[in-house]
Symmetry: C2
Subunit: 137 residues, 2 copies
């Protein structure tokens, strides 16, 4: 036995389809994680209870649906766990359309100071994309 | 200013309806959290890629839909985030029906050793129920 063989690896099957095995046109699910800055927690809560209508509209136009965010207290820190579904056909292009939107840039000036991204996220990520290990329709 | 006033509190609005303000019969969304035991990570992944059909059936009978679990690496630990939707009218009764099922008891003998519940969960919880701060249909 060596270190490499002992390392956990993805396991795919009927209740965790491999990314390539998902049916075409099927909605894609995203779980993401970021740290919540405790001194900005109330500001984050207030902003998200009444997200600006322009931002809501922009998210919908980018084919994002069924989008929820939860607060997770772990030890003396808090994290934000988000779940949403993507129904479009070009995720990168739709995300870029959000990032280029002037209203979204204004929104992010409010929300970014509330967050600390995970140090182990991928270089191009703000929220860290999480690996799915189970799904049941 | 005192300590109590400074403590963050829930904020409700159009994009975070208060629990009592949700439309009757509407599906309820649950986000939950538990720690994954690293030495049992592969076993957990393998079990969840091919969840026993009897367990899948029992979950569906309990009015649980659109159920996903993600792995979240935070520092030198890993956590499991789950998201599911409940479409029934008596969550406690449906959860009890799962807990009383002999097949589920057998399943939990496999999965419980893979998990460490959060110390700050409520006394009656295994997975910790997370507070929602945002939702968009």
């Amino acid at each position: 036995m060596n270190q490499i063989n002992d390392k956990p690896h993805p396991s795919y099957g009927p209740t965790n389809p491999a990314p390539g095995n998902q049916a075409a046109g099927q909605r894609q699910r995203y779980g993401s994680l970021i740290e919540l800055n405790l001194e900005k927690e109330q500001a984050y809560r207030d902003l998200h209870a009444a997200v600006w209508p322009t931002i809501v509209e922009r998210i919908k136009q980018a084919n994002i649906e069924n989008y929820s965010i939860y607060v997770a207290p772990i030890g003396d820190r808090k994290y934000l766990f988000s779940y949403f579904e993507y129904t479009g056909s070009n995720f990168a292009a739709d995300m870029a359309s959000i990032a280029e939107d002037p209203e979204t840039k204004r929104w992010w000036r409010e929300t970014i100071p509330c967050q600390t991204p995970l140090p182990n996220r991928k270089p191009d990520e703000w929220w860290m994309d999480l690996e799915s290990v189970f799904h049941l329709d």
